[in-house]
């Protein structure tokens, strides 16, 4: 009897130890559970993001300095000579009045007029060499003339000639000229900065939709697609054409973006559809509706393998003889497109190059070569398209309509952006980058706030903080009229904000409802926990019973004293 009881007690002890040892490990595992499944959330700087969204931290301003230079020549002849200081004061006052009238508290393009030096009134070498090299600082030279007329020269200079040499007229002319030059830009930037998040979708003005997203570098791909071998195209002189026509543009743009260029020829590039034939003119034509299908994305290999820069494609399409000449027009008999080309917003441009079907008319020596002469019109089209894609606005088109006197904008060689256009581009791109990176950061902040399950790692926090710092830096540079630095800083901010937003660690938990957690825990832990809990409960029950029995035993004389003591020890 006693021996049996001993072994029973030993058995009980063993069982209790086993259960205890398993539960000890389970309990040890609990803190690990907490530690390993904790949703790590680094605190994002919500307050400063909110402040930035209302431009409270720093209101971007785009200071512009215009030095006014009055011609000395007439001053001696007439008694009522306008003085430089009068003109300057007058211009400043007029601008303030205009702002007040239009309920604008502070001009974004803070045009500051400064009295410059008097000059002789003739455009000579002395003047043209004294050009401003600082983006945002310009010189206006004012002189009397027979007709009122302004000419904006490429090197940050404007020559204004006025009909009647009196202060008011000079002031009017200057204000109108500067309005023509900076007005549209001011409007665009105002739209950009004031658009709040709700209107983001529609904030872009028409021509901005064409513009590609800003990047510090682009890859330009010039492709020649030949419809058929029988059109006799074997080679094109693209390299020469690029050197001749594209180089000035790229050089001028280098302060904003860098470009890498590649070219390719693909033969037997057939269209995905058959163009219609206009019997009256014996031309094949594409209607504007068909243009979206022009790119045969399935068969034409257009993806660049060389770099990770955003790429812009420029396609020259030489139709096969059975489909040429190929023109773009709205229908049979309608006038055809003069450039025979079209632009695909944010993607690139396409130009159709019809070759003379008559071989004898082509260059005698190399009939299979597309020569520089052949390519020149195409390249001109591409340059215009590239300007549009890059967001270089042609000042002449926006300004001409609003002014009461002719304003001539000088262009530089081969469509390269002028300094005026480039400065404007710097300002607009900076503003765009600021707005875009802030929009990215605030969507990120909103997303994080709305998704409590989302892990926010330290590097996200770091990226966001750094992006905000870059934005602040950019804003400071802008207010100091350091446009190149401002663009660089705003670009850094944009890159960092997007890195944070598109970080893979964030995306994985974007959608993770609580029900998923049950699916994760249940299959493993329910089967494990059932025997664990059951054994624990059974053991507790057994202990209770034992106590009860021990009590009974004690009541009935306490015969097995020794055993009870033994039990209590445990």
């Amino acid at each position: 009897m006693s021996a049996d009881r001993d072994s029973m007690a030993a058995n009980d002890k063993t069982r209790r130890m086993v259960i205890l040892s398993v539960w000890a490990v389970v309990l040890l595992g609990l803190p690990l559970w907490w530690k390993t499944t904790r949703v790590y959330r680094a605190e994002l700087p919500y307050d400063s993001i909110d402040q930035w969204n209302q431009w409270k931290t720093c209101q971007p301003k785009f200071p512009i300095r215009v030095n006014l230079h009055l011609s000395e020549t007439k001053q001696k002849q007439s008694g009522n000579n306008p003085t430089l200081s009068d003109v300057t004061q007058g211009v400043i006052r007029r601008v303030q009045e205009w702002n007040k009238a239009h309920d604008i508290k502070e001009s974004l393009l803070a045009v500051e007029f400064i009295a410059g030096k008097p000059w002789t009134g003739s455009i000579n070498k002395d003047i043209t060499e004294r050009t401003s090299t600082v983006p945002g600082t310009y010189d206006f030279y004012i002189s009397p003339s027979n007709v009122t007329h302004a000419s904006i020269r490429s090197q940050r200079q404007g020559f204004i000639q006025v009909q009647s040499w009196n202060t008011d007229h000079i002031i009017d002319t200057i204000v109108e000229t500067s309005g023509a030059v900076f007005g549209s830009e001011e409007r665009i930037i105002r739209q950009l900065l004031n658009a709040n998040e709700d209107t983001q979708g529609v904030r872009k003005v028409q021509d901005q939709l064409k513009t590609v997203k800003y990047a510090p570098g682009y890859q330009l791909t010039f492709s020649l697609f030949s419809g058929d071998a029988s059109n006799g195209v074997r080679e094109w002189k693209m390299q020469e054409v690029i050197h001749a026509y594209l180089a000035p543009f790229i050089k001028a743009m280098s302060t904003v973006s860098k470009f890498t260029i590649e070219s390719q020829i693909q033969h037997y590039a057939s269209l995905a559809f058959t163009p219609q034939l206009d019997y009256s003119s014996q031309e094949y034509y594409l209607t504007p509706d068909a243009l979206p299908n022009f790119i045969n994305a399935a068969e034409w290999s257009l993806a660049s393998t060389v770099s990770s820069l955003p790429s812009l494609n420029f396609l020259t399409y030489v139709p096969k003889p059975s489909e040429s000449p190929l023109v773009i027009k709205t229908g049979p008999g309608a006038p055809k497109s003069a450039t025979n080309s079209f632009l695909i917003p944010r993607w690139g441009g396409v130009a159709i190059l019809n070759r003379d079907t008559d071989r004898t008319k082509r260059a005698k020596e190399h009939p299979e070569v597309i020569t520089v002469q052949d390519l020149e019109p195409v390249m001109r089209v591409f340059l215009t398209q590239l300007r549009d894609l890059m967001g270089v606005t042609d000042l002449s088109t926006t300004a001409q309509s609003s002014s009461s006197f002719p304003i001539v904008f000088h262009k530089s060689l081969n469509e390269a952006p002028t300094t005026w256009e480039l400065d404007s581009l710097l300002r607009r791109r900076s503003a765009e980058n600021l707005v875009d990176s802030l929009a990215t950061i605030s969507s990120l902040a909103r997303l994080v706030r709305d998704t409590p399950n989302m892990v926010v790692l330290d590097h996200i926090q770091r990226d966001v903080t750094e992006a905000l710092r870059d934005i602040g830096r950019s804003c400071q540079h802008l207010s100091h009229q350091e446009y190149v630095e401002a663009l660089a800083a705003s670009r850094d901010g944009l890159v960092k904000s997007e890195t944070a937003f598109f970080d893979p660690t964030m995306v994985s938990m974007l959608y993770f409802p609580d029900e998923h957690k049950y699916a994760i825990y249940m299959p493993l832990f329910v089967p494990i926990s059932v025997p664990l809990l059951m054994s624990l409960l059974r053991e507790v029950k057994r202990l209770k019973e034992k106590k009860k029995r021990a009590q009974e035993d004690k009541d009935s004389q306490g015969r097995d004293d020794h055993d009870i003591k033994h039990d209590k020890q445990e």
Binding site: S7, V18, S21, V25, G29, T37, F512, I520, L524
Partner: protein
Amino acid sequence: MAKGLSSNNAVAVFGTAVALRLALFQFPALASLLGERVEISTPVTSFKRLSEGVFLFTNGVPPYDGGVVHQAPLLLGLFYPIISSPLLVNLLYILIDLAIGYMLLQITAIKDKDYAKEKKITQYGGKEEEPGMSGLSVATLYLFNPYTIASCIGRSTILYSNAAVAAAIWMGMKGNKSLAMFNVAVATYLSLYPSMLIIPVILMLTRKIDDNDLTKKVAIRCTGLFAGSLVALFALSFVLVNSWDFFGSVYGTILTVSDLTPNLGLCWYFFIEMFDQFRPFFLVVFQIHVFIFAVPVSIKLRKYPLFVSFLLCAIMGTFKGYPSVGDASLYLGLLPLSSEIFKYMRYSFLVTNLFMYSTLLAPIFWYLWVYVGSGNANFFYAIGLVYGIGEIILMIDSTFALLRRDFESQSPPETTGQDAALGWDREVVQK
């Protein structure tokens, strides 16, 4: 006469084992084929990776920088002088394999001596229980196990860890504390998981001590010896490769299961599919799961340390991150040490079939998935699951058998009289 016969037999068995391995090593294509099999060499035991590590080491490049080598530095040191000679490498593998066989033989001898002192179980019909397998049979079962041979020819480095485990058990049975603990430390050093074998080995060392206090003292001393040996091995490794990088590369890889090359185990597929967010949590769960059994099993079966070491080896071989057939060869080698429980096992047929099934189908499904492409990863993983089920049933069944036998020995059946007629259920079990 009998002794002479048995030694002749031993020579024959070991000689055949050597000849078989030497013959198989004659086909280098076979060795490299087996060495490439995911079932045989895992990222932490691959001979190819070891050679790479030795090559880097020889050329003065830190071997653990590239993230390829996950073997312990002292293994690199061991192979450094002989790697250029395939014959020496092969001979080393054969020698280690034979040594394990020899140690199993010795362990059986010690166990038989213990067994002779025990009270015999009287079976139904008044018969005494027959002794278990002879040492030579145990060694033969190990040496001619296809898993052992494949693992040896495939030159998986799990062999060294297995040898250390076998040596630790032998020394534990023999009562040599320092060598036993040193060998547990070596096994831990080589593949980490055998650290839990410290418990059964201490049980072996203390199995003849009745005094509770003395047992505790011995256990503490053993733990000290273990820790000391381990620290010494680490220090030696540091001297060899002159950096602590090996910690992350060897043990980090084992613990975090960072190399998800498919293998026979249960982890790789799971961690490929797991949400990143929960990966650390389940990693902890899986690793704890391997170790959670060590203490309760040792408490429950403390009278049978040999069986505990078998069971822990089987648990390791089933649930570790990078199991291979080399792990199976170890615990299948240790199982016959408790051969007296075989007659109580109920699912031997099922387990044998599951092992054969998975062994045959694993290469086929692998081929279908990786080469032909007509299957996918699920095919191979399913075979891994079948293999795992086989291992788990083996563990459950053998534990049941052991407890059954334990029960028999504690409450022997009535062999005569009226009650004997009630012993029908035992009859069934005992055939």
